[in-house]
């Protein structure tokens, strides 16, 4: 009997020891991830202690918050670089971090299906949550695919009545940035002037880019784009374009052949010259359709996330949108 107990006991001890190692590596990996997003843990240096600790749901929220908060805040992006945010869920490390956070910024309108659940489960009562899309008029989603085979169908059903991709419109992006600014002012009134100044500076840049889009796109003869998933609805309605999505509002599912045939006919009839794919979604379906019609494919970024290379190259919302404009103009001018 005793002999049998010893190996069991020793294995339990080993597991406990390993669990200790596990937490050590976990925290170090958290450090490196926050380093990569150019922030530091508040506990590490005393001068950071009075900075706001902000977590953002995915890239545009991160970018807008950094733009407004500048060096008065620590911002960490939850969805890692190069990951499609539609089906992302927070890990236990993320939840632990949120317990210590001051502000959580998310876009809302059904984009982050995990937010309600996560916020409800936190014990962090001081956490200020910001739904950046608040006050923006939402568009209804195009529901061509009722038979969409999503695992989280029930969660989706109530929310995907509205198109969550609000940030893709520059005007909405500015409104989201304003909501974020207001929340920062509320959470940290001492730096009100600083936040207001940053916001005003970027708001001007957003307006200029909006004007540039209007000028360049209104002159073009063709107004129809075929995209990987219907993420560009708000952009389209700003500038009088029409989008045709290979997939519906969410990005990942197997294409069905009837829909593909429909898009091919549509593209032929409307003289579409480019099939757009996205950086974070497989381009296979877009390529199959493009080779069918004999046109090219090009990348249009729905700004759901940037890759690490893009972040390292200093890309941001404005620069990516500039590129999108150039791509759109190149494809629609023919």
């Amino acid at each position: 009997m005793k002999k049998q107990i010893i190996p069991i006991l020793s294995s339990i001890v080993a597991v406990i020891l390993m669990a200790g190692c596990g937490t050590a590596t976990l925290s170090s990996s958290a450090d490196s991830s926050s380093l990569s997003s150019q922030t530091a843990e508040p506990s590490q240096s005393p001068e950071d202690a009075n900075k706001l600790n902000i977590y953002t749901s995915f890239y545009p929220m991160y970018d807008f918050t950094v733009k407004v908060g500048g060096d008065k805040v620590n911002v960490t992006n939850l969805v890692p670089a190069g990951t499609e945010p539609h089906d992302w869920e927070p890990s236990t490390t993320d939840l632990a971090n949120l317990e210590k956070a001051d502000v959580l910024v998310y876009s809302g309108a059904g984009m982050e299906h995990w937010v309600d659940k996560v916020v409800g489960s936190l014990t962090n009562k001081d956490l200020v949550t910001v739904e950046a899309s608040k006050g923006i008029t939402l568009q209804e989603g195009h529901h061509h695919d009722e038979e969409e085979t999503d695992q989280d169908e029930d969660e989706h059903e109530e929310e995907s009545a509205y198109d969550p991709h609000v940030w893709i419109s520059i005007r909405n992006a500015k409104a989201e940035m304003e909501n974020i600014k207001n929340a920062l002012v509320q959470a940290d009134p001492d730096n009100t002037a600083y936040y207001e100044e940053n916001y005003a500076g970027y708001a001007k840049k957003f307006d200029e880019l909006d004007q540039k889009f209007t000028d360049q796109l209104s002159a073009l003869p063709n107004k129809t784009i075929v995209v990987a998933h219907e993420a560009f609805g708000y952009l389209c309605s700003d500038y009088g374009l029409t989008q045709m999505g290979i997939e519906g509002l969410s990005a990942d599912s197997e294409p069905d052949p009837a829909r593909m045939a429909e898009i091919i006919r549509f593209a032929r009839d409307n003289n579409v010259k480019t099939i757009f794919f996205e950086e974070l979604v497989s381009p296979k379906t877009a390529e199959a359709i493009a080779s069918e019609i004999g046109v090219k494919t090009d990348m249009l970024n729905p700004l759901e996330g940037l890759t690490e290379e893009q972040l390292a190259a200093g890309e941001d919302y404005l620069s990516v949108m500039e590129k999108n404009l150039a791509t759109l103009v190149a494809s629609l001018k023919e």
């Binding site: 990942d252 197997e254 294409p255 069905d256 052949p257 593909m260 979604v281 080779s291 069918e292 890759t307």
Partner: protein
């Protein structure tokens, strides 16, 4: 016909039929060896290969093939250690593969690249994949015909095959290699779901009607081609996802065969009873 107006549908039919011919050939042997789940295990392990490929900057398709081959030989090795529980070897390899893929995927620099290797779809096939499938199909079909007798022997009874002079180790080696290559290519092209089901479901259908090894092979191929063809038609005209439709068509076919068999059996029994009463 409208459905063949599009190149992507013609490609889907070509690739679908090619795979529906070669995968059941492998499937028959695999089922007789009690390794039905091997398709699943290998396609999951190929994900680990894809992830390793993306991390190490090797072509992910090559990475998938290497991982699949390794896993297939791993299954063979474990199977020899515990011959009475052959299916355990698959469960072990599958856990190892999925676990490895899970860990490695955390290190993949760009998750989008990983995604595009995860999900194949029969209606979005590139020219490169088409060539790959055609090449693999020719090789597999050729080897299968070449080793037809040997494979049959081994499938039923490895020991007596060895005793009667069949080069069991060599044939097993080639077969394992073919299985690995087929699964890694097909999973990437049409998706893991279709591969693992084409390997087993048509064979199950065929076992309901076939009376010999040769018939089992022929019927398996027939049922696989039938369910792929019907599945693609239905998916196109009803606007359904093709992979799932093809798989479900196969399963429905199996149920239909069960049903027909039961009816025929009853009818025959009644008929023989009638004959019996008439005779007395």
């Amino acid at each position: 016909m409208e459905i063949f107006e599009f190149a992507f549908m013609r490609k889907a039919f070509l690739v679908g039929i090619l795979l529906a011919v070669i995968i059941p050939c492998i499937g028959v042997i695999v089922v007789f060896k009690r390794l039905s789940m091997i398709g699943d295990a290998l396609s999951h392990t190929s994900l680990a290969g894809v992830a390793a490929g993306l991390i190490g900057n090797i072509n992910p398709v090559v990475g998938a093939m290497i991982a699949c081959t390794g896993a297939a030989f791993g299954i063979e090795a474990i199977r020899k250690k515990i011959p009475r529980y052959a299916e355990m070897s698959i469960a072990i390899m599958m856990s190892a593969g999925v676990g490895l893929a899970g860990i490695l995927s955390g290190f993949v620099p760009n998750a989008a690249g990983f995604n595009s290797f995860l999900f194949g779809s029969i209606v979005a096939i590139s020219d490169f994949e088409l060539k790959l499938v055609v090449t693999v199909s020719i090789i597999v079909a050729g080897c299968f015909l070449l080793f037809y007798k040997e494979l049959c022997y081994i499938a039923f009874d490895e020991n007596s095959a060895r005793l009667s002079g069949v080069p069991v180790d060599l044939v097993n080696f080639i077969f394992t290699l073919l299985t690995a290559v087929t699964v890694s290519v097909a999973a990437r092209t049409v998706g893991a779901l279709m591969v693992s089901s084409l390997m087993v479901v048509p064979v199950a259908c065929s076992l309901q009607v076939a009376k010999s090894y040769r018939q089992t092979v022929c019927w398996s191929i027939t049922f696989a081609v039938l369910s792929t063809g019907v599945g693609l038609f239905v998916a196109y005209y009803r606007g359904l996802k093709p992979g799932g439709t093809i798989v479900l068509t196969g399963v429905l076919l199996l149920f239909l065969l069960f049903f027909i068999k039961a009816v025929v059996k009853k009818f025959r029994r009644n008929a023989s009873k009638m004959v019996g009463t008439q005779a007395t």
